[in-house]
């Protein structure tokens, strides 16, 4: 008797039992179920939610692997100094870098998935519904949007909060209002701000360097945005050149640094028709628009050079897309279908506002120079409103048509000649 038959018998044994959802989750992971259609269309398309989620994960894997290399690269670079002439294979794609990244990031991934899926399983068993696939993507996103040295217990607490309050209380996957991954990040940000921002969290070992070891100040690494927010204007080009920012050889959250790989992931998601290109394109347009406005303000000399906003405002408008979490947020977070706008027109507005707000918050937020996650969470809240107005447009068209409706009187009543009535 093969594995397939054994599992089938176990499934029958579990049927109707409390633990059935837990078993089914594992079973359907191994084998696509033997379910056949019983109402409506007798044949069905090939895609299911697992496949959809899996596609997003595939798009994220390059960012994860790059993040591992970059963690090592930033760590050793901060200790030993960065190489004068950079060579991809000699300095970046090295075993040392990867190993350093692996041992720091893998625990984040394991905790994220382990805790999150445990919560999902518990809820599925209690509520008696199947384990839904939403967390497969969330669990992968979470390690990619946190600083590399985040203590694991904090991550665990945040994941529990995010999954329970962000998703399960609304009814699970498909019902939530806020993006669970961003809810987790927001929780971390407001509960443990010292671990989530500043110039000591982005490079592995930097925090230890401050708190424990005698060689204080051994490692420091700040993000490009952090550097700008402190009022440094000119130095940015010396510190990192554009290629560094585009390829991602800069400090930052684990998966957000490589704009190139995010771009490739985004193109893959658009090609596979899993994520909305409308949201991505309009978000890019939105961020460029806000960036241009700020550049314009600087060019018009409306703000003095000593203003604390000056350096971020004067940052070249399109370079906003290369630094921080903007690109990552646009491609992987804003396109979440559950929390985003659901109508095609709504998606244009929704995406545009995310890009627009992200850059705005980024520039005007004094404490923490990043606004993507706040902008997306804000627009998550407004997405139903945007959809409402789009759908009302459709309703209005229908009502307009109604004015010319042709309604004839009932045969039993209308002995007189049929005539067109206008309502």
């Amino acid at each position: 008797m093969g594995l397939k038959e054994k599992l089938h018998e176990t499934k029958l044994k579990f049927q109707g039992k409390k633990m059935a959802p837990a078993f089914n989750a594992i079973h359907t992971f191994l084998y696509a179920p033997n379910e056949t259609t019983h109402s409506g269309a007798h044949v069905r398309g090939a895609d299911d939610l697992k496949r959809t989620m899996n596609t997003v994960i595939m798009a994220l894997v390059p960012c994860l692997i790059f993040g591992m290399f970059n963690t090592g690269y930033q760590h050793f670079g901060a200790i030993n100094g960065f190489p004068e002439t950079f060579s991809l294979f000699d300095h970046f794609l090295t075993w040392d870098n990867f190993w350093m990244g692996l041992i720091t990031i893998l625990p984040l991934v394991i905790v994220s998935y382990g805790v999150g899926l445990a919560v999902e399983f518990v809820f599925a068993v209690i509520k008696g519904h199947e384990v839904e696939e939403g967390y497969l993507v969330t669990g992968m996103l979470v390690p990619l949007i946190v600083p590399v040295d985040l203590p694991l217990w904090m991550l665990a607490v945040a994941v529990v909060f995010g999954v329970v309050i962000g998703k399960e209380v609304f009814g699970g996957t498909g019902m939530n209002i806020l993006n669970p991954a961003l809810t987790i990040r927001a929780f971390l940000f407001f509960a443990y701000p010292t671990w989530m921002s500043g110039d000591k969290v982005w490079v592995h070992g930097a925090v230890d360097g401050v708190t424990q070891s005698g060689t204080a100040d051994a490692i420091s690494g700040e993000t490009v945005l952090g550097y700008l927010a402190q009022g440094n204007t000119s130095g940015i080009a010396d510190k990192y050149d554009l290629a560094d920012m585009f390829y991602g050889f800069i400090p930052g959250s684990v998966g957000e640094t490589s704009t190139l790989l995010i771009l490739l992931g985004g193109l893959f998601l658009i090609f596979s028709k899993i994520a909305s290109w409308r949201i991505m394109v309009s978000a890019v347009i939105g961020s460029l628009a806000m960036g241009l406005i700020f550049n314009g303000i600087v060019a018009a000399e409306w703000i003095p050079e000593y203003s604390k906003f000056y350096s971020l405002m004067s940052f070249e408008y399109w370079q906003h897309l290369l630094v921080g979490g903007l690109a990552f947020g646009i491609v992987f977070m804003a396109t979440d279908p559950v929390t985003g706008a659901q109508t095609n027109r709504g998606k244009w507005v929704y995406g545009f506002l995310i890009g627009f707000m992200s850059v705005m918050i980024r520039v005007f937020n004094p404490g923490y120079p990043e606004g993507v996650f706040l902008a997306i969470l804000l627009m998550n809240v407004f997405a139903p409103t945007i959809d409402h107005y789009v759908v009302r447009g459709n309703v209005k068209r229908r009502l307009k048509r109604l004015k010319n409706a042709t309604i004839y009187p009932k045969v039993s009543e209308g002995a007189e000649a049929l005539k067109t009535e206008t309502v």
């Binding site: 033997n34 409506g40 398309g45 299911d48 009187p409």
Partner: protein, 450 residues
């Protein structure tokens, strides 16, 4: 004068086993049956008792809420069984057919001289009326209403469905008579659609507004065409008829006989020799299924096409409205890592390691497997790709699920029938039962408002 309708959004589901365009005469069925589920929303009141002898075209029962709407026997014979279900609900009426068929002889109606009232009366008593369906609500038309227009679709896009061009051949006289009679029942137009570049006898009809339609499924569905030609507003009524039913109506008008004969496509990958058969409404499916032969023992037999048909079995009977019978493989097997491995043999609208986009002309052998489990709605923007009406499908489905009558009305539930949501159901990633949701929504709206 014909008008062009071009549908861009949609999806053609190309399946293996299309019926070859040759017609055989099916073996005569011993027993014929009417399945009362075909008449949605009708409460039957029996007119004859079990064991009674009936002629073809003789009323078997009437509609409880409209006594003059009679439903007739497709053949002459003995009413051998009234199958009842829970709470004595009548499910099926079985008639043991006579060797020589006798018909109720109505006086043929001279349509050109008749007025609307006499035509209506003729349709109601002769059993032709149930072929007329109405929207809103997708039910048998209410004889008390005057439709603003009548729609007939002669363009076939549903997978493996009987090709209207083929089954209507040589029936010009009947079709014209039926159209003439219907035009007396509405001051509006009779809209008839044909496939662009097709060879339909419908294009030769007089007194109709002809439309030539092109594009992928659901371009052939009447709901899609209504939406493009003259969408239904609140309070309006339109009638829809299937062209093969016009033949029966036409013959009834011309000869006074209810001749339930129709050409049926037997299709699907399970059928060894898929082709057309002439048989009668209510005939046992095995009478022609086994003439063509089946490849496997275990299969799904469908009264209708794979998207909208109802499940049946070889001992089941041809449905009142169906002219397609499809047999496809059952898919009740597990598939190892079925959710993440590349898929080449199934149809998908995404490209998430699914490769049907590379071979749009390829014919697929789909099974009844759901390819995944039922989930809440997650993905957005998918349905719109295959839904050509000016309606927000996801929002309308959700309105039906939460039973929000105002929303259902405002978002256009009056314009749709369950079949319009068959394609969105097919591609649904969350495997939601769209047609059932719409059916329940329509019933609720009908009950509360209509």
């Amino acid at each position: 004068m014909s008008k062009d309708i071009r549908i861009k959004k949609g999806l053609d589901i190309n399946l293996v086993g299309a019926a070859e365009q040759t017609t055989s005469k099916a073996v005569l069925s011993n027993v014929y049956a009417l399945n009362l589920d075909d008449f949605h929303g009708i409460t039957p009141k029996m007119l004859v008792k079990q064991g009674a002898e009936v002629k073809a075209g003789e009323p078997l029962f009437y509609n409880k809420s409209r006594e003059d709407m009679q439903f007739v026997s497709p053949v002459s014979g003995e009413l051998v069984e009234i199958v009842r279900g829970a709470r004595r609900k009548i499910l099926t009426l079985k008639i043991l057919a006579d060797k020589t068929q006798e018909y109720v002889a109505h006086k043929p109606l001279d349509v050109s001289a008749a007025d609307g009232d006499s035509i209506r009366e003729f349709f109601l008593k002769s059993g032709a009326w149930p072929f007329i369906k109405q929207r809103p609500y997708d039910i048998i038309a209410n004889p008390d209403e005057t439709p603003k227009a009548v729609f007939v679709s002669g363009y076939t896009t549903a997978p493996l469905a009987a090709d209207a061009d083929y089954v209507l051949q040589g029936k010009e006289a009947e079709l014209q008579a039926a159209i003439d009679a219907l035009s007396k029942l509405t001051p509006g137009k009779i809209h008839v659609s044909v496939g662009k570049g097709g060879n339909s006898v419908l294009s030769k009809l007089n007194g109709v507004q002809l439309h030539s339609v092109s594009g992928p499924h659901p371009a052939g569905l009447i709901g899609t065409q209504i939406n493009k030609i003259d969408p239904i507003n609140k309070g309006e009524v339109v009638w829809t008829l299937a062209p093969q039913d016009l033949i029966i109506i036409g013959e009834l008008l011309l000869t006074g006989k209810f001749n339930a004969e129709r050409t049926v496509a037997l299709a699907g990958s399970i059928v060894k020799a898929p082709k057309y058969y002439t048989t009668k409404i209510g005939a046992e499916i095995s009478t022609f299924l086994y003439a063509s032969g089946v490849n496997e023992d275990k299969y799904r037999l469908i009264n209708g096409d794979v998207l909208t048909g109802s499940r049946t079995h070889p001992e089941g009977y041809l449905g009142f409205y169906n002219n397609t019978v499809t047999a496809i493989p059952e898919g009740d097997d597990y598939e190892f890592f079925g959710w993440n491995k590349p898929i080449f043999n199934k149809i998908s609208t995404t490209r998430a390691l699914t490769f049907s986009w590379m071979q749009p002309k390829k014919k697929y052998d789909l099974t009844t497997n759901t390819n995944g489990e039922h989930r809440a709605f997650v993905v957005t923007g998918q349905y719109e790709q295959v839904f050509p009406m000016d309606i927000y499908p996801l929002q309308l489905l959700k309105a039906c699920m939460v039973k929000d009558l105002d929303e259902m009305e405002q978002l256009g539930l009056y314009e749709v029938a369950p079949e319009d949501f068959a394609l969105t159901e097919f591609i649904c990633i969350s495997k939601q039962p769209h047609q059932q949701i719409i059916r329940e929504g329509l019933d609720l709206l009908h009950q509360e408002i209509g």
